[in-house]
């Protein structure tokens, strides 16, 4: 447990030391302004008329009544969009406002701005849209058939957004030679991000015509490019500011309300516009985690060495591509788990349906495939008679190994160390005791999973960051964050890195959050690369600034002491510089006064190295990130208790053993690990997302159940801190790894208790009770 009270404006924090986050202070007092908290003077409210069909042709939109209402400022449709009206990263297929066809329930059809929220609601209701319903497809398998209705005619592969096959060694043939094989078929559900701050922002036109906006976005710089094309306005005519986000987890990776905001601002007669989704609208319009249908066949030899894997993954990306291709890539790249399997065939496809849009969500395809491979590994180990942990250890990748997708691991690999730590851990050693100590009408079990997670964007898309740092005229340090902080604390970590290098405390530092007008272009807050990449860039900038400060100070001391001095004799201290031999000091402010602006500002550009391997298969995946270079590793263990009368399941203990490089701030690291694991528990047990014919049935928190404080156990986090050469101070990304293995660990634990596997969707109490019944274990004492 943490120790008590020290003031936040403390001594400079050092890399590797737990330090409170600088942003916690303003958040805990309620002062911090999120995008939702801006109410520009005299602003209008903007809102969206949404489609009432999952697939339909719009035959008419009658806006006359809405337009005539007192207090309505503008009613806009796709006709008012000047540019391509298409959003998207690789596949630009999503209209800002539907032009002709709607492809999912709740798709945006018209945009209204009004004086008040009440008038806005009435005006939205007064818009009459007539539709001609079209045949719709909701099942990804059906979407692949020849007979299926096509969502985006004109694409070469019908409803298939992307499909490919990776094969290594002798491929599936090798399965025939295996001594033991195991098969599992697993279907995993959708998941909603359910961040607490729903999609929101404000926008206005600046005097020079620039469209300025404050939005809850993970991607301020990329948003400009997307908006530019869709609206036919040069990217430099947008200014996007991203305050701290009230959670995102991938759900704000790209445009949410920004297109509407820009359009509304263009038609607001110079007034600002504000938009803020209600929770139900968030469920309707926001992206989700991709559901997946997976088939696994895995084989090993007599010694328990994995030999062959045949697997297929089918993902549903819903009506528009969003990040569907990239999620499929990452899923396929990780499909074989962190094991050495020489012969593999991994087939994958991601398809369009008339379901909600799936896109980035913490884990990005990996929690899905981990649920496939880790259950297959458990089954195979049991069939072949091996200890579940030793079996994994035997087959674990090491540095220099080749993964099941042919990726040569040149960087740090800490999986074996993680497995060994877990093997020695009480929770694993005492697993039988735990199983045998269940009270009446309870059953207990332990579940295990091993996983890995790639860092960054892969070989094609440059993973870059441009850091900027300023010694302000008054002597304090301004840290410019070019990457959004969606809650993970990266902004504070940048301050920690700068504070470490320049030996300054938070009280002498200030953070400037992303603003395309003054922070420098950097890639998104995503892909376990936020601190990894920007951390490298800000380290570079801090080194430069330090050198300049010392050089100036040297001159000053030389004048004062009238002799030639050596820069090595100077040290930076909080707020000042000391010449050690003489003991003389000058305040930073004085030095700042001797520097002109161009010297006081240091910038540094950093692009991550990539994996240059040329792989024979999976060519189409290359653009989407295959292969990666750096991976983080984890082994996760859960102790479960099931009630045989009700099917109710409890996660009693959870162990995260993580190798994500060196740890810069243990407290912030633990936050990521615990938070990700908790979302994994939600994914596994609680968040039973339900659709009927493309319509979301779970669109509030009384039907879409998030875990509460009662549902998440105290977790233990064990760190294996290997130093990664690519990462700043040896770190690797830690934002996603902890969600990856939880569903699989829980599923393995449940299977251990019941003796059979629940293979479809969320592991709810109902399903567990049914499985207990079928296994003849219901109400067993």
């Amino acid at each position: 447990m943490c120790q008590s009270s020290r003031p936040l404006t403390s001594a400079p924090s050092v890399i590797g030391q737990s330090a409170p986050r600088a942003d916690a202070l303003t958040k805990v007092t309620g002062e911090e302004r999120y995008a939702t908290d801006y109410y520009p003077e005299n602003h209008l409210w903007a809102g969206i008329k949404r489609a009432a069909y999952p697939h339909a042709r719009i035959t008419s939109i009658d806006i006359s009544q809405a337009k005539g209402m007192v207090g309505v400022v503008a009613v806009l449709t796709s006709k008012d969009v000047q540019g391509s009206n298409r959003l998207g990263i690789f596949e630009k297929d999503q209209p800002i406002l539907a032009d002709g066809i709607v492809r999912h329930y709740g798709e945006a059809v018209a945009l209204v701005t009004a004086e008040t929220k009440e008038i806005l609601k009435q005006a939205l209701a007064a818009i009459v849209v007539e539709y001609e319903p079209l045949a719709a497809v909701f099942d990804p398998q059906a979407a692949m058939s020849k007979e299926s209705v096509i969502l985006h005619p004109g694409r070469a592969d019908g409803n298939v957004l992307l499909s490919d096959e990776i094969s290594c060694g002798r491929g599936v043939e090798a399965l025939a030679d295996c001594e033991f094989t195991a098969e599992v078929s697993i279907e995993v559900n959708w998941q909603d991000h359910a961040f607490l701050e729903t999609e929101a922002g404000v926008a206005w036109l600046e005097a020079d015509g620039t469209i300025a906006m404050i939005a809850s976005t993970q991607t301020p710089f990329r948003d400009r490019l997307e908006l530019a094309e869709a609206l036919k306005i040069p990217p430099t005519k947008f200014r996007v500011m991203a305050p701290y986000l009230g959670g995102a987890f991938g759900g704000k990776d790209g445009i949410t309300v920004q297109g509407f905001l820009a359009l509304a601002a263009l038609h607001a007669g110079g007034r600002a516009v504000k938009m803020w989704y209600e929770r139900e609208e968030h469920f309707l319009a926001g992206t989700k985690r991709h559901p997946a249908i997976m088939k696994y066949k895995l084989g090993c030899d007599q010694q328990g060495m994995l030999q062959a894997l045949d697997c297929s993954i089918l993902m549903d990306t819903g009506a528009y591509s969003a990040m569907g291709g990239e999620v499929l890539e990452l899923a396929m790249e990780h499909a074989g788990g962190p094991y050495c399997i020489p012969n593999t065939r991994i087939k994958g496809a991601v398809v369009y349906t008339n379901n909600p849009i799936a896109s980035a969500f913490r884990g990005f395809g990996v929690p899905q495939v981990a649920a496939g491979i880790e259950q297959a590994v458990d089954e195979l180990a049991k069939t072949a008679g091996f200890d579940l942990l030793q079996f994994r250890l035997k087959n674990a990748v090491r540095r220099g190994s080749v993964t099941p997708t042919g990726v040569l691991l040149t960087q740090t690999v800490g999986l074996s160390e993680c497995l060994k730590k877990v093997a020695d851990h009480r929770l694993w050693r005492e697993r039988e005791l735990w199983q045998n100590s269940a009270p009446a009408f309870k059953r207990r079990g332990v579940g295990l999973a091993a996983c890995y997670h790639a860092v960054g964007f892969g070989p094609v898309i440059p993973d870059y960051a441009n850091a900027k740092l300023e010694l302000a005229a008054d002597g304090h340090i301004r840290v410019f964050a070019g990457v959004s902080d969606m809650g993970q604390g990266n902004a504070a970590t940048y301050m920690q890195i700068v504070g470490h290098i320049l030996f300054q405390g938070y009280d002498n530092m200030e953070i400037v959050l992303p603003d395309t007008a003054c922070t420098l272009p950097s890639c998104s807050s995503s892909a376990s690369r936020t601190t990894f990449t920007y951390g490298n860039a800000i380290t570079g900038a801090a080194d430069i600034l330090k050198e300049r400060i010392l050089a100036r100070a040297l001159l000053l001391f030389s004048f004062q002491l009238l002799e030639q001095l050596n820069v090595q004799d100077l040290v930076l201290l909080p707020g000042r510089i000391v010449h050690q031999p003489s003991g003389r000091e000058v305040p930073l402010q004085l030095i700042a006064g001797f520097m002109d602006e161009s010297e006081r500002i240091a910038t540094y550009s950093y692009t991550c190295p990539v994996n240059k391997q040329v792989l024979p298969t999976g060519k189409k995946l290359r653009h989407h990130g295959y292969p990666h270079r750096v991976f983080s590793y984890a082994v996760q263990l859960v102790r479960l208790q099931v009630d045989t009368l009700t099917g109710e399941i409890e996660v009693c203990d959870l162990l995260n053993c993580i190798e994500a490089g060196s740890v810069l701030n243990p407290q912030v690291f633990e936050q990521q690990i615990q938070g990700g694991a908790a979302q994994g528990i939600g994914y596994a047990l609680f968040e039973d997302f339900a659709l009927k014919e493309g319509k979301i049935r779970t669109n509030d928190f009384s039907t879409y159940i998030l875990p509460t404080a009662m549902d998440i156990p105290n977790m233990e986090t064990v760190v294996v801190p290997l130093a990664e050469d690519d990462g700043p101070y040896g770190m690797k990304g830690a934002g996603e790894i902890s969600i990856d293995g939880i569903l699989s660990a829980i599923a393995n634990g449940v299977a251990a208790i019941i003796g059979t596997r629940i293979t479809q969707g969320t592991l709810t109490g109902e399903k567990i009770l049914l499985a207990l019944r079928q296994a003849g274990k219901e109400a067993v004492r």
């Binding site: 943490c2 009270s5 805990v28 607490l196 993970q488 633990e670 615990q674 509460t708 404080a709």
Partner: protein, 157 residues
């Protein structure tokens, strides 16, 4: 209608439709943006305020219900005393990530500690079960409450 109530220690009179939601009134008319809205349906606790010292959900309250009561938002809690200790414990323990649940959570903690100054960890978890947090997994929040409770006990002793 005219509603007269105490807001963060100040006698306040507003003219508001009787059915105006309190969360809107506080945020839009008084600029008290520390009152967060997340679900608008009484299911998350982000909009928690103290009404006569006990925690209430401002998204479920209407302006008319404010007549004669004492409302405290995160902005108005006395900076000394238990508030400061709870806040500091949240900071020190790393109980704040995105922070969107934090103001509501802190108020819920104050209410909890007032009713039960030495809660067990189960009691803390139960007492905070109306406040959702999507970022932390709750563990560091529970720790923060334990630390705050211990400090407050030391202070009373």
């Amino acid at each position: 209608m005219r509603v007269k109530f105490m807001l963060n220690g100040k006698q306040t009179i507003v003219d508001a439709p009787a059915d105006r939601r309190v969360v809107d009134l506080l945020r839009e008319d008084f600029g008290l943006i520390g009152v967060k809205e997340c679900c608008g349906a009484g299911e998350c606790g982000a909009c928690t305020i103290l009404v006569n010292g006990t925690s209430r959900l401002s998204c479920l309250m209407l302006a008319a219900q404010l007549e004669g009561v004492e409302v405290t938002t995160i902005e108005g809690v006395a900076p000394e005393g238990s508030f400061a200790i709870v806040q500091q414990a949240f900071i020190d323990c790393g109980a704040v990530q995105c922070g969107f649940c934090t103001p509501g959570m802190v108020l819920a903690v104050l209410d909890l500690l007032q009713r039960n100054p030495q809660p067990s960890s189960e009691e803390i978890r139960e007492g905070l079960s109306g406040n959702l947090c999507r970022c932390t997994g709750y563990q560091k929040i529970v720790e923060a409450v334990q630390v705050a409770a211990a400090l407050l006990k030391g202070r009373r002793a």
